[in-house]
């Protein structure tokens, strides 16, 4: 709006009509300006008689983005999407809120929570209904309304634990500390639903006192507050002569009958239950109780301890009995007719067997049990049958074949020995040596594994070698079936899973068919993202080159040309008519960064030799581009800017010289397409001027 003087007649009386967008000279009547940009609100009639305001919706929140013209369709939708989401959320919240009878303030708070969740991207991967329900519940908790999570889950038809999980995540992420639920909050609500009529208030008060008493008796930690309320209300109702059955209460409070009964019994256990009604209303006992599960736990512990004690006593008694038994046996032995010869040795063998099992009491007991009179005789006999005795004892203990060779060795040792105790000694050592290996005792595994634990090499894990120490092969074999068993099992399994097998076969047949027809679409499971190898480059140029190669940012860029750029800027062959914006910063950076290497060339060479790629830029706003490039390039080299400036056709119009090259370039890019400067600058007026000239 510059001209205040008419070009034709020179009069300064110009009428500007904003509605029509005209500027008309009152003197000669010539139209000076047409299509002035106006900022009136226009209305358009819609089918059905309504009127709509013309214009795009621009979100107040997103702020300082430049309005896009021409290719603005998609980005315009993008901004409105956030608004749409919020709109939908608002609707849902109001639907649910109305069912819960929440007031408007609560619903607005819930919407705010939802906005916060949106900003933190917490809605991703979660059903919108879950998030909305969680936001509403958060409002209920912070404001202290008597709404339970169960109510919400009823309305939204979602599992209460799923809702709870979402709610907890939201509360944690948004750092909202919801105060703990107080069962007292629920009492008025439930009391109303129970229809006490005029006495509702009194019943509520009684129930409140009951709940407070329960709290002091630690019945409320870890329990659903609704259960406590139910119990309290039941008692309060009875106190005021209202007959409310357990079933009615269960329907309203939504806990199980057994829960209710349990709460009542727990309350019964507290001393408060012994008070009469009047006493209860007046007096508050100071004494507090332990929580009921705690007392139950203590009871259990006591019972267990008793059991242990009883067991100990029983063991003691058994021990005594055992002693008596042995003494009796010994007496019997002594009074029995003595067996001579072979049999004596065998009889002795049994005794020894028992004793040898008891390693600790071995030598002493053996000596004791020996009859002094027949000692020598027995010794001789025993020595003779030493071998057999040993075999006897050993056979009793050992079942594995491997020990047989050891047996023989041991036996050979014993034959050399003369003395009775000496004979015992090797057998003791023998037994000790053999005992750990007996699988029945089960000690072998643990002992050897203890011994070898330190020796276990951690390298085994990495090398993949299986460390077999401590693994008893034969036991492992127990885990495997024999061939016959395998056949049986196969038959059984096939019979069981026939349907599944059939399905598998059908699937394979289908795939084969599709392959034959060539339609088969291989649905490969998505593997994890392939990590690119880290780029190693000497200079920034190389780094960017390699990055571009790897990343392939845009499909419209001819990367080969980019490569050539580095080699020969003059001889760059291909020319892209329309290169998208993104290419420019990358290419620009590339080009700019390469400048320092070739500044000598660029500064002195005229525009034409800069390469066809750069020419389209040059025709537009060459001075801007080149100037900034050359400024960028001149930063490392302190060459004067005037030299390039003189070689370049300078156009009128503002040229922005900034010291921040990177960002500047990007801004420049935008500005070349869309800048208001351009619109309002001399160029357009130039165009308009053309029209005028032709008019």
């Amino acid at each position: 709006m510059s001209s205040k003087v008419c070009k034709n007649c020179g009069s300064s009386d110009i009428d500007v009509d904003h509605a029509r967008g005209d500027a008309v000279c009152m003197g000669c009547g010539s139209v000076l300006e047409d299509n002035i940009i106006v900022s009136e609100v226009e209305f358009v009639e819609t089918g059905g008689g309504g009127s709509l305001a013309v214009g795009q919706f621009v979100s107040a929140e997103d702020g300082a983005r430049h309005p896009s013209f021409g290719d603005g369709h998609f980005s315009g939708m993008g901004k409105a999407s956030r608004a749409q989401t919020l709109q939908r959320a608002k609707q849902h919240i109001s639907i649910v809120g109305n069912q819960l009878q929440m007031n408007q303030h609560h619903m607005d708070t819930a919407l705010n929570f939802y906005k916060m969740a949106l900003i933190k991207h917490l809605t991703r991967g979660r059903k919108a209904s879950h998030v909305i329900a969680a936001c509403i519940y958060m409002v209920c908790r912070t404001e202290g309304t008597p709404h339970m999570l169960l109510d919400l889950s009823d309305i939204v038809q979602v599992n209460v634990y799923v809702l709870g999980r979402t709610f907890l995540v939201l509360a944690r992420e948004l750092c909202i500390n919801a105060p703990a639920i107080d069962p007292c909050l629920y009492i008025p609500r439930f009391a109303q639903m129970l229809e006490f009529g005029d006495k509702t208030r009194e019943v509520s008060m009684t129930a409140l006192r009951l709940v407070q008493r329960m709290k002091r008796d630690w019945m409320h930690t870890g329990r659903r507050p609704s259960g406590l309320c139910g119990a309290a209300l039941l008692v309060a109702a009875r106190l005021h002569d209202f007959r409310r059955t357990v079933k009615e209460i269960v329907n309203i409070v939504k806990v199980c009958e057994s829960t209710l009964r349990k709460r009542l019994t727990e309350f019964e256990d507290t001393p408060t239950s012994q008070l009469t009604i009047e006493e209860f209303m007046k007096v508050d006992l100071d004494q507090e109780c332990d929580p009921p599960c705690y007392t139950a736990g203590l009871k259990k512990k006591k019972v267990q301890q008793l059991e242990i004690e009883i067991k100990k006593k029983m063991d003691d008694v058994e021990g005594e009995i055992q002693e008596y038994q042995e003494e009796i046996d010994a007496e019997l032995e002594s009074s029995r007719p003595k067996l001579r010869g072979v049999y004596a040795a065998y009889a002795k063998g049994d005794l020894e067997n028992d004793d040898e099992n008891n390693i600790l009491s071995m030598s002493s007991k053996l000596v004791d049990d020996e009859e002094p009179e027949d000692e020598d005789e027995l010794r001789a006999v025993a020595k003779h049958f030493g071998k057999d005795l040993n075999e006897l004892t050993l056979e009793a203990l050992i079942k594995l074949e491997q020990k047989r060779p050891e047996d023989e060795e041991g036996n050979q040792e014993q034959e050399d020995d003369g003395d009775f105790p000496q004979r015992k000694a090797p057998s003791l050592a023998f037994l000790l040596g053999s005992m750990p290996s007996s699988a029945t005792l089960g000690l072998s595994e643990s002992i050897s594994s203890c011994v070898t634990d330190e020796k276990e090499n951690n390298g085994a894990a990495d090398s993949g070698e299986l460390d077999l120490s401590g693994i008893n092969d034969s036991e492992i074999e127990l885990y495997l079936l024999s061939d016959k068993e395998v056949k049986i099992k196969t038959a059984l399994w096939m019979a069981e899973n026939s349907t599944y097998l059939k399905e598998q076969k059908e699937k394979e047949a289908k795939i084969a068919k599709e392959k034959a027809l060539g339609i088969y679409k291989e649905r490969k499971p998505r593997g994890p993202n392939r990590k690119h190898a880290p780029i190693r480059a000497n200079t920034a140029d190389e780094a960017i080159e390699k990055m571009l190669e790897q990343k392939r940012i845009s499909s419209k860029i001819n990367y080969d040309v980019l490569k050539d750029l580095n080699v020969k800027p003059c001889a760059s062959p291909a020319r892209k008519a329309e290169s998208p914006k993104k290419e420019r910063p990358a290419a620009k950076l590339a080009g700019r960064n390469r400048r320092p290497a070739q500044t000598q060339l660029s500064l002195s060479t005229p525009l034409s030799t800069l390469g066809k790629r750069l020419q389209p830029f040059i025709s537009g706003q060459p001075n801007k581009k080149l100037a900034t490039e050359q400024i960028g390039s001149s930063n490392p080299l302190p060459l004067p800017v005037e030299a390039p400036a003189s070689g370049v056709v300078v156009e009128s119009g503002p040229v922005v010289y900034d010291d921040v090259p990177g960002d500047e370039e990007e801004d420049e890019e935008d500005e070349t397409c869309v800048s208001a400067l351009e619109m309002l600058g001399s160029n357009d007026y130039g165009c308009d001027g053309d029209y005028d000239d032709g008019f």
Partner: protein, 187 residues
Amino acid sequence: MDSSNDEALDIIITNVVATFRTRCHLNLRTIALEGTNVIYKPEVGKVLMKLRKPMITASIWSSGKIICTGATSEDEAKLGARRLARCLQKLGFKVRFSAFKVVNVLAVCSMPFAVNLINFTKNNRPIASYEPELHPAATYRIKNLKATIQVFSTGSLTVTGPNVQNVATAVEQVYPLLFECQKPRCK
């Protein structure tokens, strides 16, 4: 693993979960048909194999990855895993025991006092959270140890963590906080 202040708290490890790889493809059907104590789940694509000696249940996938649960100590888990690998070796697969890692340890512990959960949660927001409508215990998550402790009002704790040492440290860390919020014993 006893610790904290003067008394010794018994931390009983109830479950240790470990994973390892056999570095070879396993034919689940063979294992299912030739092993005792196996359950084949073709829908999911795994075989459950139960060992008796260390009481262990292993989930075996055909890729060769195996998850071993039910052990009561880290060493037992390793022993069980090696046994399992040996068992698979006997079945004929070229098993190599690699990448054994204890993934999760579950332990229980009991405080000699009861705990007031509401105060405990109030003092330790937001690390602790308590939702009586959902779960009777308060959950306390220690981020740097990656351990989760569930505190019940009776004073029992359930601790889960990536290894036994972390579990012990977690109990030590949480003990003073619980001590503050204990319920006075009356009876």
